[in-house]
Amino acid sequence: MGFLKYALRKLGLMVVTLAIIASATFFLVNAVPGNPIAARTLRMPETVKAELYAKYGFDKPLWPRYVITMRGLLRGDFGMSAVYEGDTVPNIIASKLPVSARLGLQQMLVGVTLGILLGVVSALKNGRAADFAIIALAAFAVSIPQLVFSLLLQKFFAGAKTGLPIIGWSGFKSTILPTIAGAFVYTSFYARLMKSSILDVIGQEYIMTAESKGISGFRVVTRHVLRNAFVPIITYLPMTVAMCVTGSFFVESVFTIPGLGYYYVKSVQQRDLSMVMGLTVFIAALLLAVVFVTDILYKLVDPRIRLERAGKR
């Protein structure tokens, strides 16, 4: 099977998956009684109320609304916010995504790099003090909720002494604490992943072959161990990119950062149906695209993986 056929098949599957996600989101949000404009329209005259209901489509029963919504999605029309006048999915993404993406990529850059380094150290010093310290730190880091960690950072590191603002989004300095707050999770995840991956590779026979050649220990690690240990890491990286660019609700809330994560969760709370639908489909599409890219990356790093095999699965 050629590459094109493989790609087309994957794309087809992506469309089906997206349709299922969109439908599920639609019915779940609508399963809760009431609607986003009910409270606002309580004291309005009946005619105005009816007009507003018609404007947002809440005058129709569930199924026709489902059809209208799905048709809209097909045309790329995500509808408008029922809560904030003038908000549409494209303009929310245009204004919020760059903020979340910048913060997310900073977090990832710091977190993943540090995680990989710590993982390498921990694996090569397996069973010794440095290893225990790193693994304990990693366990500690995942055990603290991000919300708590963000608050602790604000309490101890923001203020006049360090010159770091407590909240807000203006300039590089304001990004430092949120970056650390989010990076920690990646560090601990990648440190443990890298460690177990390296230990797995070290146990392989080809490492013994490498050692039997009389090359330096450094070369054994860089050419034979690390290259192979990176294979599983590569599969997680794109997913991490997708997750971090779409923003974190906790970090963005605590530091009042006008990002996508914060807005998304607020839309859910206010049951702003069209926005939830639109953002869900957008994020899902992003994740699916990332899975696609991962398959190709994987192939580049590990020549054993063939696209044909992946397609048959």
Partner: protein, 333 residues
């Protein structure tokens, strides 16, 4: 003439959750220049651990070559080599071929590169010269299109081809000693004899000595001059191939020989096999390790360990039945 390799009192243990497994319990073994020696025994008898010890590939901290062990290569103790000397020895003077070439070759490195790496570790040749030499080596081990094969990854080659690549790596610096750890076990039967034949050719050509580790006496027959039979971490019998095949002394060796399938066997009859299992090496028995499975077991066998005793020339066996006066197993069996 002094021996190329002489192993004295080799003891190797593995530390596990369950306790210390004494994988090798005092092995003496010698290999002459330009000689092919086989070490035969069933899985878990310690033959592979012995093989790895020769290159110091037993990994600490789980694996532990006990103090008092000596592995003399041209009179120098490999176990006390410093880092630099060890690097010169590994891949230069002594190489190893593993059982399963798929897991023994780096999956993310082209096969040519894996040969070049060994070449360049032991001489100052340029990258281009190493590349050409690697292609030449691939041609020597039997590839018709060596340049193309050099660019391929191990998964793109068949099992037999991979083992040829492995052999090309091992012979790339014309080592004096080659350790072949079950080199044909993971291969198709049709390929086995061709790989063995290749090993033999290269041995004759380079005058290297080979330690051939196998569980298959059939593999050994045509190629080894001398044979060591291992059981439960010890050598139980050693001698020339002729001694082992035609003047078999130890009951374990006899049982092994009896379980080799032959063309003349009736296909309806079940294959003979050795009843029971080898002893746990966490707590090895105080007597003969084979006693529980031995048809000739006597009282003394369970009490005391028989020593490896020379019977005639270089033919030795560790069996009470053979060595006690008044018993003569050889005649009865």
């Amino acid at each position: 003439m002094s021996d190329l390799l002489e192993i004295r009192r080799l003891r190797v243990s593995y530390h596990t959750m369950a306790g210390e497994i004494q994988a090798v319990r005092g092995v003496d073994l010698s290999v002459g220049e330009n000689e092919v020696v086989a070490v035969v025994g069933e899985s878990g008898c310690g033959k592979s651990v012995t093989a790895r010890s020769i290159l110091r590939l037993v990994r600490r901290p789980a694996g532990d070559i006990k103090s008092g062990s000596e592995i003399l290569f041209r009179g120098e103790n490999v176990l006390s080599f410093d880092k630099k000397r060890l690097r010169r020895y590994r891949g230069g003077e002594c190489s190893i071929v593993f059982q399963d070439p798929l897991s023994a070759l780096n999956p993310t490195m082209r096969s040519g590169r894996q040969i070049e790496e060994n070449l360049r570790a032991h001489s100052g040749i340029s990258a281009a010269a190493a590349r050409a030499e690697a292609v030449e080596l691939l041609r020597r081990v039997g590839f018709d299109d060596p340049a193309r094969r050099a660019r391929q990854y191990p998964h793109e080659l068949s099992g037999g081809m991979r083992q040829r690549v492995m052999i090309a790596i091992a012979f790339s610096n014309r080592p004096s000693l080659l350790i072949a750890d079950e080199p044909t076990t993971a291969l198709d039967v049709t390929i086995q004899s061709r790989v063995l034949e290749l090993l033999r050719e290269l041995q004759v050509e380079t005058r290297a000595s080979i330690v051939l580790i196998t569980h298959d006496l059939g593999v050994v027959a045509g190629i080894a001059k001398r044979i060591y039979v291992m059981y439960a971490g010890r050598i139980v019998e050693s001698g020339s191939s002729e001694d082992i095949f035609y003047h078999t002394a130890h009951p374990y060796t006899k049982a092994l020989l009896a379980s080799v399938p032959r063309m003349t066997m009736q296909s309806k009859l079940p294959l003979p096999y050795i009843q029971g299992v080898p002893p746990e090496l966490i707590d090895p028995p105080s007597g003969c390790a084979f006693a529980e499975r031995c048809a000739l077991c006597m009282d003394i066998c369970r009490r005391e360990e028989p020593k490896l005793t020379e019977s005639n020339g270089r033919h030795s066996t560790a069996c009470w039945f053979e060595t006690l006066p008044g018993t003569d197993g050889g005649g009865l069996l």
